[in-house]
Chain length 173, copies 2
DNA sequence: ACACCGTCGTTCGAATTTGAACAACAGGAG
DNA sequence: CTCCTGTTGTTCAAATTCGAACGACGGTGT
């Protein structure tokens, strides 16, 4: 008796087989998948609220600041940034514009490529990140990191690394 | 040298300490967290595309069908469904309306509570799910499940279960 | 029976996200 | 140099999402 399933309750009776017969998920696989989806949604929801309340930033905006801060010159090309964030280019354009209005990020054109645009962290941007980071990290720790044992964390880091890598490959069609 | 960090590159110099001094994430913790966020975004993106192309459904809509199908009578109260999906009530109202227009889901009022509304899978809804599930499951398997060893999967299922539970608690303020 | 607090689902406006279409340009083959 | 193909960032319309505000009810204590 499948509980919360990602497939119909019962595998369809063997009739015609267009693909090669579906391999459904067993209980453990299902638990992993449902856990992933649920935890992901729940976590996003919670982080969104915390950031908005404490710093007036959305999670996406916060992540933009983080990636820029981690970049060599505090600046990144739009496309590159979009890749790291895993968003659409148009979505990034929108958010960078918002952050620009807030004075947290600036745009600078690229010397070697006329089309290119650098998103760059302003001083207020750095300030804002320094201010917002502690609360954010504390919550991530409370809701994810500290809930797991060190062994679990090791496996999770490894496994999710593999999955991300696999997904990146798939991305580059 | 923190690579892709969820915090400023360098922990701020010890000055005043409003909270109790932030406990930043070490490399492994950061890897787990970044892996989680990245994998989550990438996976959602990919599944969204697959479902839309193959079945004309969004991931959210598909999940609604799944949860309804897994429910005792193929029907659930709106609030209950919203909880399982981890979505806002208003968001669910919208999506159920869409699915209703597609003829996949119907609304039925609750006998014991005049306010209550049941979302119910129609025959076409079941049909659609039977049709869409194989492709979806196959991709989940390809991109997540089969990328991990059985040991990793076990730990993941366990760990994410704990995290979800923790998040549910936090939700019930 | 009555007031009171919590729940139910919807509506509303505002914010965000996405893919497709674009215009401008880079880079290499010929 | 010149064409051709692939990139780059933006714009656009459409779809989705959320939270707050609502109106309508359920349940309990008195």
């Amino acid at each position: 008796m499948p509980s919360t399933s990602s497939a119909p309750s019962a595998p369809p009776a063997p009739s015609t087989r267009p693909p090669s017969e579906t391999r459904w998920l067993d209980d453990e696989e299902m638990a992993a998948w449902r856990g992933f989806v649920t935890a992901s949604n729940l976590l996003n929801r919670r982080l969104e609220r915390q950031l908005k309340e404490d710093s007036g930033l959305s999670h996406t905006q916060y992540e933009i600041l983080v990636h820029l801060s981690a970049a060599p010159a505090g600046s990144l090309r739009m496309t590159e940034l979009a890749d790291k964030l895993v968003t659409s280019k148009s979505g990034l354009t929108y958010q960078v514009t918002q952050l620009e209005r807030m004075g947290l990020v600036g745009r600078r054109s690229c010397p070697s490529d006329v089309r290119g645009v650098f998103a760059e962290l302003t001083e207020e941007g750095h300030e804002m990140l320094r201010e917002a980071a502690p609360g954010h990290v504390a919550l991530v720790r409370e809701l994810l990191i500290d809930v797991l044992s060190r062994e679990q964390l090791t496996v999770l880091a490894q496994g999710l690394g593999q999955v991300s890598a696999r997904l990146r490959l798939d991305e580059a069609l």
